[in-house]
Symmetry: D3
Subunit: 334 residues, 6 copies
Amino acid sequence: MNKILTFGEIIMRLSPSGNRTMKQSHGMEFFFGGTELNVAASLASMGGEVKHVSCVSDDFVGESALAFVKSFGIDTSFITKNEHPLGLYFLEVGSAVRASRIAYNRLNGSFANIEAGKTDWKKALEGCGYFHWTGISPGISESAYESLKEGLQTARDMGIEITTDPAYRSNLWKYGKTGNEVLKELVGYSTIFIGGVAEINEILGSQFSSDKEGFLHACRELKQQVPSIHKIFDKIRIGVTASAQQTQGRALVEENYFETELLEVNPVVDRIGTGDAFAAGLIYGLQHFDDEKALHFANAACAIKHTILGDINYSSAEDILEVMAGNSGGRIKR
Amino acid sequence: MNKILTFGEIIMRLSPSGNRTMKQSHGMEFFFGGTELNVAASLASMGGEVKHVSCVSDDFVGESALAFVKSFGIDTSFITKNEHPLGLYFLEVGSAVRASRIAYNRLNGSFANIEAGKTDWKKALEGCGYFHWTGISPGISESAYESLKEGLQTARDMGIEITTDPAYRSNLWKYGKTGNEVLKELVGYSTIFIGGVAEINEILGSQFSSDKEGFLHACRELKQQVPSIHKIFDKIRIGVTASAQQTQGRALVEENYFETELLEVNPVVDRIGTGDAFAAGLIYGLQHFDDEKALHFANAACAIKHTILGDINYSSAEDILEVMAGNSGGRIKR
Amino acid sequence: MNKILTFGEIIMRLSPSGNRTMKQSHGMEFFFGGTELNVAASLASMGGEVKHVSCVSDDFVGESALAFVKSFGIDTSFITKNEHPLGLYFLEVGSAVRASRIAYNRLNGSFANIEAGKTDWKKALEGCGYFHWTGISPGISESAYESLKEGLQTARDMGIEITTDPAYRSNLWKYGKTGNEVLKELVGYSTIFIGGVAEINEILGSQFSSDKEGFLHACRELKQQVPSIHKIFDKIRIGVTASAQQTQGRALVEENYFETELLEVNPVVDRIGTGDAFAAGLIYGLQHFDDEKALHFANAACAIKHTILGDINYSSAEDILEVMAGNSGGRIKR
Amino acid sequence: MNKILTFGEIIMRLSPSGNRTMKQSHGMEFFFGGTELNVAASLASMGGEVKHVSCVSDDFVGESALAFVKSFGIDTSFITKNEHPLGLYFLEVGSAVRASRIAYNRLNGSFANIEAGKTDWKKALEGCGYFHWTGISPGISESAYESLKEGLQTARDMGIEITTDPAYRSNLWKYGKTGNEVLKELVGYSTIFIGGVAEINEILGSQFSSDKEGFLHACRELKQQVPSIHKIFDKIRIGVTASAQQTQGRALVEENYFETELLEVNPVVDRIGTGDAFAAGLIYGLQHFDDEKALHFANAACAIKHTILGDINYSSAEDILEVMAGNSGGRIKR
Amino acid sequence: MNKILTFGEIIMRLSPSGNRTMKQSHGMEFFFGGTELNVAASLASMGGEVKHVSCVSDDFVGESALAFVKSFGIDTSFITKNEHPLGLYFLEVGSAVRASRIAYNRLNGSFANIEAGKTDWKKALEGCGYFHWTGISPGISESAYESLKEGLQTARDMGIEITTDPAYRSNLWKYGKTGNEVLKELVGYSTIFIGGVAEINEILGSQFSSDKEGFLHACRELKQQVPSIHKIFDKIRIGVTASAQQTQGRALVEENYFETELLEVNPVVDRIGTGDAFAAGLIYGLQHFDDEKALHFANAACAIKHTILGDINYSSAEDILEVMAGNSGGRIKR
Amino acid sequence: MNKILTFGEIIMRLSPSGNRTMKQSHGMEFFFGGTELNVAASLASMGGEVKHVSCVSDDFVGESALAFVKSFGIDTSFITKNEHPLGLYFLEVGSAVRASRIAYNRLNGSFANIEAGKTDWKKALEGCGYFHWTGISPGISESAYESLKEGLQTARDMGIEITTDPAYRSNLWKYGKTGNEVLKELVGYSTIFIGGVAEINEILGSQFSSDKEGFLHACRELKQQVPSIHKIFDKIRIGVTASAQQTQGRALVEENYFETELLEVNPVVDRIGTGDAFAAGLIYGLQHFDDEKALHFANAACAIKHTILGDINYSSAEDILEVMAGNSGGRIKR
């Protein structure tokens, strides 16, 4: 029962190398990722057993994506293929005062066209203790939303912990439904909520402040409206510049409030997937530690991800524990 | 009156470097191209004055595409932008007995969503002696088809030469109309046909053989059915292996038949855009030489393009004339 | 019963990029391979189910090797780790009249130090129809030899087909035993022999000629001395230059002699692993086709591998069937 | 009348990639630039209409330089070609306590050999509101000095604003005239002076201090000696280390003194062209904003340039306005 | 008598480029180094005359290593070759909170198999004023230890200064002897000790504290036990993060204590070889300056090395003097 | 007396990587070379002892060039430095029917400004048996011509063999003297002439045909006019395409005519320096073999150089002997 199932798009990131702008480039590095796959692969790197459910293109691009997912030892048996191109995005990496920029090409891709009603969720969730989803998936297309809902219903019926990162993105939600209405519905299946005041305000339409008091009020309101949620974990990432970031975690579990120290990362190698590293660290932490240590582990995972290229946190649990122990990285491990 | 107008998609090619398969790669080289843009940029490299009509994405990818087009001195004033992603394709480059492979992502892109009725074709065609189009554009979407038809009608009314490469691709034509019906209609506007027996059979539903006799019969039948066509030029490319190719041209102008010698290229650096190099060479040739010399020039342009990376023939007219003169490339130009 | 088990070193190849000599380089490309892993990964690429038994270094190099093996979906549960460095070799790639050169660093590596008696061969061979080994493994170290012998004994007892590529390398066999004595012993377990006159002469100490008559005599002598061998397949690779190669297959199955046409590959992208591609193609062929078609399939697999960088034949069965059908690679697959 | 004309060398920068020293490299990245072209291309990136006057080599190097300039949409009709090689320099990029180093090869290049008396300045300056020049050009050669003087005279006669960056470089001025004498003469044509106390002292032979009082005295003295100058803008760049820089602007317009906050950039991606980004930002600002906002815009342009590889500030006006608004770059623009 | 002899392994470093982890890479950059060669090459870069004694592999890898050493003008006549592979290590470069990691492959390499009794030490030490060694060499193998001891004896007999960096590494010393016993013996030959409290405690089995008092006590104890040592120089490197480091030097010469300011380096380009840069700087300093200035020079050399890729400090003496003079690197040297 | 002295420019080659045109590139590979240095470094690679006399720039570019020369073990004590930039050229590498193109920047460089009268030729020629020069050097500048003449006079006086490659290049000779007049004068010092009918016709103003008879007549005429010449060796390189070349040697020594077979190289990796490889092979051959074998060795050296990137033939004498023995390169050397 210690497997984890994740559901979401496998997306290709294309990025001019070495901080170049696209106009200055003739080549790009590419990485496979996607917010839920990032959680899956980061968990697998820590030693977790993971199944990922998705849909990729039936061409050599989709084949390459699958090989990447398999390289982590992730179970890919529930990933299907269709005739649509794999979703992708272009990233121009910023630096110091220059912000990074993203241009998407995903709304007509293979995942957006995943067929609802085709996944044997019962079988997929066999042996799983956690189902992780984010608010990106239901924002991509109606069939992605429906596929996810099927999974959530089955997971709830099987008594599986449902971890939710309700990442709201205004550039999605083009298929008719609004983020607000869908997220509210789907968050209703959750047992563990990974998000803070901004996310809660988004879902509840509330106006809580982001300080500790506001956070506590927001959490209590959320738990009242969604009684299945018993734990709330908040990741705080402060972008000082495009090259320097700070991360911190706080949580409300039952009536206990925890928070971590602020970790600084300078320089930042890659910001993408740091929230997913937090979620993966949290799930791993909840499986292996108590809630408070889990939060610290998640925050350390989030910090170390900033130093790794691509979407995935390749760190082992041991690497993360060292950051958590305050090892600043200044010595070489021989 | 010596300007040339081209109409078509600006597409990004993404290709793992150095003959690698995609599974073996973390990086890709990219090139902008597109069959009609290839003609435009090749003509500009020879010294031609060109306007290109198209639609790109309103993001940094589209901006980069525009900067590329401008670098040739091509007039981009008639290129619009919209919210859809730039079309693109992935290319795994083959070698020897291994064929190259392409995976497309273009059918929901910015060009596919070009708005008909928005181009001021009269103004765009001002000063132009040639309008070049191919069968790719109308295969992408209905609005691309309609935009093209507007342009063809205006060009015909203005008495401009219309060069047609009726490239039929079975993986297009997903929007309701068939290639056969549309190409037949649009070829009706042409004055110069760039294609051979296969293309004529495709359009007329005929069964001519591909030898000289068949070619002559096919041409005569085409000219009878489409009386506006007064010249037919055929490019023959023989793929010996993925690394060795032969090119040859033949033509029927009025009742005169010409053909060129067979040019061999080994090794092939890049096969993409070699047909477009032929078309560009032909148009340049028709502007500067007699019909027979134009055919030889087009064939030499096609041959030299095989040695240049990317979609565009960067060769100058002088470079092409040297290949035409039989200079095998064995000496260094200091 | 259609799984295949392979046993052998996972070795890292390091090679200056772009045909440079090492003195001219500051960077190298690396590839994981190893003759038996090449067979495993090539089979997996064709769609086969494969288990690989080996031993890697317990560091980030070994971890990377494992991730590579997993990316093919190969079962890695029987791969162990130890404190010795992963074996590796440097390759300077030749061209035309310049031969390629290899410098090895493998004789004190993790595979050379694999512990005999530690593999649960019964469990490892569960569900397997084929056990593939080569003469490289027993040449590396005594413990590799002993581990292999354990596996061969178990496979024979379980009635599994044993395919043998008795690759004799004079730069191995430094641990006390001679290649001749060991290969003769281990070939005794084989049921399918992949080798020709040179290999048979090596093992039997005979002097057969390499023409068809010599081949037939050599085969009959081998079958007489090793009665368990019922099929012999010979791969012939003719190195015209470092950049041009020819491949051909011939076989004696029972009393039937087959041979294939000569396939030419020019230019050669990578010669390493072409014999392994033949072996993989053969095993796949024997599982899916009759013996003669299997030979043709193996030869086509060998040919196409010459066009792929690295040690592995990434081709699908479909790709290989096209080469077998005489498709020269001259067309682009869209 | 809103076009801008710039005059100056198009120079190639060659730089070992990734902070390597040249001894450690086998490859270099190259960029086209040149202090006045940097202003031109930065202005074009913000949306300005620019003409650049220069002279390049009549070979494929010069052709490449021209294609680069055209890619910004800059008017290249007044750029000539000659038989001399394009000027270039080598840059070893420093880091932290290690300073960057430059080695020049420009004094016998195509721009140094530009022919005076050949530019139709009247036509070139048609539609222009600004003429921008720097003290680099007249330091390269006598004919560059003379060409520039012709342009300045015409611009003055046409009542065009003349912006002057009197960059004095001691490694130029090898052709007989001294920087002091020439700069004094040419600054006499200016209406807007971009420089501070050091530059004024250089030109006037004065000894003003660099604090605010010194700056004000120096400005007043300059305006007295060169009455055509009505605005003085000073860019201050403080190099903390090779990897961390601070920028600030101050100005005296009529009798009004302005200054901006200090902007920090850490890490610095590229220091070259940051002064040119200031000048371009200033000209754009003067065309679109009031003088004080123009100064802030110029300072923000200078800061963001430090994060962009190469000589050119590729930022749009919108990008610069965000930096000006205090956006630290810590968020991703999706 | 101003030549310097160094003795030690020439080792190849292999590192994924651009901060990637090895799993994310298909290519590696390589560098030749080795702690004593780093001293040799850094000294040669400053202008010193150096001989290096070592043993490399008799293959193209060893040839490349030799060409690298020769490129510095180092005398390689006393470097031998054998049949064993060149030692190497893999380095994953960390960043910010992520530590760098090393995996070695050296214990069965060519240097580990250097033959004792084969070097003509008298001839090798001809003209030398300094013999530099470190504690790495005798930790690799017994024959390396014996070779070194022969050299030390000869040097002592010839009255040559012996500089010792007793770098103790727990992952060496696998051949039977312990680091403690051997280092104690060999340090007995030294005249100049480059190390601090930790190293002295290691050798003497003492427990001095690392503050100034502890340092002074430790030094005095060492000088008492090893009377040949007349100067002790300590390099202090403080790893703030993997990307930010501080360096400081202190010394006890006779009864005089000196110390330098703390130099900060941020960002760090490469940490490897910074201690060797200190040693090289020190030897150069002792040859050209007084002891105190030598210490400052060594510390500046150590600081600037952090900004240079690879193992070697390529800086000239002039470059180092500038850092010593407080030049922060913020200006470009033209 | 077996050392070889070479005199000539050290020039940097800059080339877009991977067959790209310069317009398509943002990076270039660089190589140091120069026709006489190529001979020097190729000889050193075969095992020869070489001194090179030249003049480089006094900056980090010149330093890098020197480090490159030293890496071959070449004696650089007679190389001076001055304030002028190192000569360089850009090379666009052609392929198949596309010719390679070169753009030079050398006529005002450091070698062009070498000071005559400053080389101690007596000392430089100490221990030398051969002095090698080509017609490139005296074509660059008057001082280069004068420096060379000083050397030739000293060599003649010392009775040293003078090998001459009278490479005439029409794009040199800009300083007043004509190639014809100077070459005729300097060839007068030669004892061994490396050239064929074209070169003899150039020097003598004759019109011999290039067949065997013509060659014999031309040789006899040359020997009559320049009696010091006792051996003539002709390298014939036939450029089939930019990617396929053939090489052959013929010679007249006393009255003996020899010729070699035609060696084919396909594909050609790099044509530059193949003539220099011939000259180096010849000198090495003359030192170690009889004249006829020397010619075959030179031809094989010329052939194998076509497979090596850059200007230098890195092959060992053993590598060349294998090509000479007809080893086609088809096998891997392990």
